[in-house]
Amino acid sequence: MKIIVNGVESEVKSTALSEILDELGYGDAKVATAVNERFVAAASRPQLRLVSGDRLEVVTPRQGG
């Protein structure tokens, strides 16, 4: 299915958020997620199923002022 990952359309086979992250190469990276502008805690990722057109945001620690 097609979902939007960090603003870019992406094709994924999985539906569970945790599996989608693995499929996209995040693996054990330190990331936080939001789906359709709502925060999704790490513990909730295995249960959350995405559908076509969902918007996924994946962020990591970065420099800030």
Binding site: K30, V31, F39, A42, V59, T60, P61, R62, G64, G65
Partner: protein
């Protein structure tokens, strides 16, 4: 001892982590600044990139507390979601809350700021709002649950210093028991010293150090200015006066005419 939400704060200089020429320069600047709190952010990353992990490793080596921000957020929803992602990533309830209301000045949106602060405080966050020197807004933020306020000195990244000394002085006088941090707009150590002399509890800056020709040296200069300014405040400075007053005793001067 200065405390933010019950946590004792050793250094009154807080430093940002952005815009340094290299990670090594960032680390050198932090070491020479003595800063105990570093501001950080969250940003998008593609799979396999791992830049975030590398940055996180660097921050942990610095041995400082992190204060994640919601920089760049223009709506309450955006700021609240970003705060939640930051809390999970950095494992801290601290959040530097930015809700920007104007693109050119990066001035906080006072209405969105109060609403976001209320939502986050109710959710257990310890909010450090990036605000203006407006005393009414300050009152609303405190009512929303904030225990620290961070008024701007000048717009972010300008280096203009304390553009509204009257407003900052009024804010300090109105809220003598609230930890107040001048955040943003500082360009020179003398400006930081002035904020501290006025009784501000700490200063937070980034660009002035990161964009200096020698960031590490500038970090040390700010650290000395902050220490000097605080010591001056604690020393109960003299009141200025308009007319001259001789410091050398007049009595006993020889008559030589």
């Amino acid at each position: 001892m200065l405390r933010f939400y019950g946590t004792e704060i050793g250094s009154r200089l807080m430093l940002g982590t952005a815009q340094y020429p290299s990670p090594r320069v960032l680390a050198d600047a932090f070491r020479r600044s003595g800063a105990g709190i570093a501001t950080v952010s969250v940003r998008r990353e593609s799979g396999g990139e791992r830049a975030g992990t590398a940055f996180w490793d660097l921050v942990r080596e610095l041995g400082v507390r992190v204060l994640p921000n919601t920089a760049g957020c223009h709506s309450v929803k955006e700021a609240v979601t970003t705060a939640h992602m930051a809390r999970e990533l950095f494992e801290t309830p601290w959040i530097k809350l930015e809700v920007i209301g104007h693109t050119d000045t990066l001035q906080p949106d006072p209405f969105g700021l109060v609403e976001a602060a209320r939502i986050l405080c109710e959710d257990g966050f310890q909010v450090f709002p990036y605000t203006t020197e407006d005393v009414v807004l300050a009152d609303r933020l405190l009512a929303a649950g904030c225990e620290v306020l961070m008024p701007w000195g000048a717009p972010i990244g300008t280096g203009l210093g304390l553009t509204n000394v009257y407003g900052l002085r009024t804010l300090r006088a109105q809220f003598p028991d609230v930890p107040l941090v001048v955040d943003a707009g500082l360009g020179l150590p003398s400006q930081a010293a002035r904020a501290m002399e006025m009784g501000y509890d700490a200063v937070l800056l980034n660009t002035a150090v990161a964009k200096a020709g020698d960031p590490a040296a500038m970090a040390e200069a700010f650290a000395k200015a902050v220490e000097a300014g605080r010591l001056a405040y604690e020393s109960d400075p003299m009141e200025p006066r308009d007319m001259a007053a001789p410091s050398t005793p007049v009595i006993g001067k020889a008559f030589l005419e």
